[in-house]
């Protein structure tokens, strides 16, 4: 492979290390030492990666959690251009400003679809296992380069701007990462099996509608707890979907699977555990209420969950 995912890990590690240095030098940050330590530890995870002893990586994660959890990660006073200058620059550059922004999705898409199977000298151009991520990495680098040329800015300025955004999001950035770790730990410790055991032992499923509601509701509820429909599906399909809906009520497995997974997604819309969809955007959009995105989604998610129960009830025997 020519563009391996590992290169982008190193690139991100270098950027995080630079952010740590910039933070250390930033006297406007009330907690610059602990904040710098936080980003430096995160940089180590990306730079050293698999070379780190496993227990050390675990200790790094816990240290980062403690630093963030006890208010050690703060932001400095960001340096913006004055509003008038931004407006005149926007007027001067016009639609040209959209070009690098749209290059990120555009190039990612083109690389992931058109250049997917392209080989150069016998090597795949992109990491086959992490195609989209490798493509996104290339697209981001191209976009930064183009933006630097177009705006006559230096890469260091780009790093400063990246720091401004990373700073504004703060610890919210690592929350999805830590939740993914927790999800893997749950699987290892057998949480899924325990939930399936409890839900099938104590609920009466002699009525078809009740069984459907338990299955869909369970998918949503379990997704709310785990933050991920993928983790919920094996549990609910194995515990209720297959033994009750398919074997007792003769449901079509394809319908049971499709609508079940979508019921799980209704749960994803309602949980802070799906941090990358619900908590990170709240930080990215400077929302005062950390749960504002979830609150905006609940009135869509609940009626949709009800609709799913009815859809499954009426469609499952086709």
């Amino acid at each position: 492979m020519i563009f391996k995912l590992d290169y982008f890990y190193l690139l991100l590690g270098a950027v995080l290390a630079l952010i740590a240095l910039l933070t250390l030098a930033d006297r406007s940050n009330p907690r610059r030492h602990t904040t710098a330590l936080f980003w430096a530890l995160y940089a180590a995870i990306y730079l050293a990666g698999e070379a780190l002893p496993e227990a050390t990586a675990g200790a790094i994660m816990i240290t980062m959690a403690l630093l963030a959890g006890f208010g050690g990660v703060r932001m400095g006073a960001p340096k913006h251009l004055p509003e008038a200058e931004r407006r005149s620059s926007a007027q001067r550059l016009g639609h040209k400003l959209f070009v690098p922004a749209l290059i990120i999705p555009g190039v990612t898409m083109a690389c992931a679809t058109l250049l997917k199977d392209v080989k150069l000298g016998g090597l795949f151009l992109f990491d086959q296992k992490h195609l989209t991520l490798a493509a996104l990495g290339c697209a981001s680098v191209i976009a930064v380069a183009l933006a630097c040329v177009m705006l006559r800015a230096t890469p260091l300025q780009a790093a400063r701007e990246q720091r401004r955004l990373v700073d504004a999001m703060g610890w919210a950035i690592v929350l999805p990462h830590m939740l993914a770790v927790l999800g893997l730990l749950f699987t290892e410790a057998g949480v899924g099996k325990a939930v399936a055991h409890v839900s099938t032992s104590y609920i009466n499923m002699d009525y078809k509608l009740a069984a459907v509601a338990v299955y869909c509701g369970g998918m949503a509820l379990f997704t709310i707890v785990m933050g991920n429909g993928f983790a919920a599906f094996p549990v609910m399909a194995g515990g209720v979907g297959i033994p009750v809906l398919v074997n007792v009520y003769g449901a079509n497995p394809a319908v049971m699977a499709a609508i079940g997974m979508f019921s799980g997604y209704c749960g994803t819309l309602m949980t802070p555990m799906a941090a990358n969809f619900n908590m990170v955007p709240a930080a990215l959009l400077d929302l005062h209420d950390k749960h504002a995105v979830i609150k905006a989604q609940i009135p869509t998610a609940l009626p949709l969950l009800g609709a799913n129960i009815l859809l499954l009830y009426f469609l499952m025997n086709y």
Binding site: Y9, L12, E54, A55, A59, I60, I62, L66, R86, R87, S89, A90, L97, A101, P105, A112, L133, L136, G137, A143, V144, A147, C148, A153, A159, E161, Q162, W171, M178, A180, V181, L184, L185, F186, A189, G190, V191, A194, V195, V225, G229, A237, P253, A257, A258, M261, F262, P272, N276, M279, V280, A282, L284, L285, D286, A292, V293, K295, A296, N308
Partner: protein
């Protein structure tokens, strides 16, 4: 027969629920849940730390999606990307916050259904373009928009991206979730055609679109009503004065 299932690991789930109910710091809640789950499963500390470390390194591909595009977006913002997005939408007379978001919902759900999930996203589309455009459209129609309504429009922009993505991507045959469902059902001795799973997702995908689009239309009316009420209150106050 005795049950071989240990219920102790559920303590970890209880910690999560309790932590979020008590509004404790989310990162601390997660760390506490990790330790509780590990101890409930009788893991010694070193084994638990190693297990956490292995998972932490393995899942480090996740934040790449957020962190890599930020340099370009940050640089463009410094030179007025958001201001330009707002100025550009101001020229479209028919634009309202709700209508812009309905257009985005349509594009996002259809492109995700075609497998193009990278076409949207919070860092590269919602923050620099969609949210500022929706906010500008609302502000232009209703000058003096309250901060509360601005925040609401922005939150709805993020919600729209999520709804479009979730309920679009699952009707794309090559999507990971469909592969996962097929694998799990196969392990239980049931064969399903991925095409059928994708097809049976369509009724939900359409329902999700209808519900969310209807809410976006109501968002416009909600903004209008609130501003009318505020204006009425203001004129009532000034009428009361001599």
């Amino acid at each position: 027969m005795q049950t071989a299932v240990s219920l102790w690991p559920l303590l970890g789930v209880a910690v999560i629920v309790l932590g979020f109910l008590l509004r404790a710091h989310p990162v601390l809640v997660v760390a506490a849940a990790c330790f509780t789950t590990g101890f409930a499963a009788m893991m010694p500390v070193e084994v638990l730390l190693a297990s956490l470390g292995r998972a932490f390194v393995k899942t480090r591909n996740l934040p790449l999606i957020y962190l890599l595009p930020l340099a370009a977006i940050g640089l463009l913002e410094r030179y007025g990307l958001r201001e330009h997005a707002q100025a550009a939408i101001a020229r479209v007379k028919a634009a309202t916050a709700g209508r812009i978001l309905i257009v985005y919902l349509t594009v996002r759900e259809l492109s995700a259904a075609g497998g193009l999930t990278s076409l949207g996203g919070h860092p590269n589309m919602v923050r620099p373009l969609v949210a500022p455009m929706a906010e500008a459209a609302a502000e232009l129609r209703h000058p003096g928009l309250s901060e509360r309504l601005r925040q609401r429009v922005r939150a709805m922009a993020a919600a729209t991206d999520n709804v479009g993505l979730f309920f679009g991507e699952d009707i794309f045959v090559a999507f990971g979730a469909i592969v996962l469902m097929q694998t799990i059902l196969r392990a239980e001795g049931i064969e399903v055609d991925p095409l059928h799973v994708a097809m049976w997702g369509i009724p939900t995908a359409v329902t999700a679109y209808i519900i969310h689009a209807w809410r976006l239309r109501r968002l416009d009316r909600e903004i209008e009503r609130e501003l009318l009420a505020a204006a009425a209150q203001l004129s009532a106050q000034s009428a009361g004065q001599p």
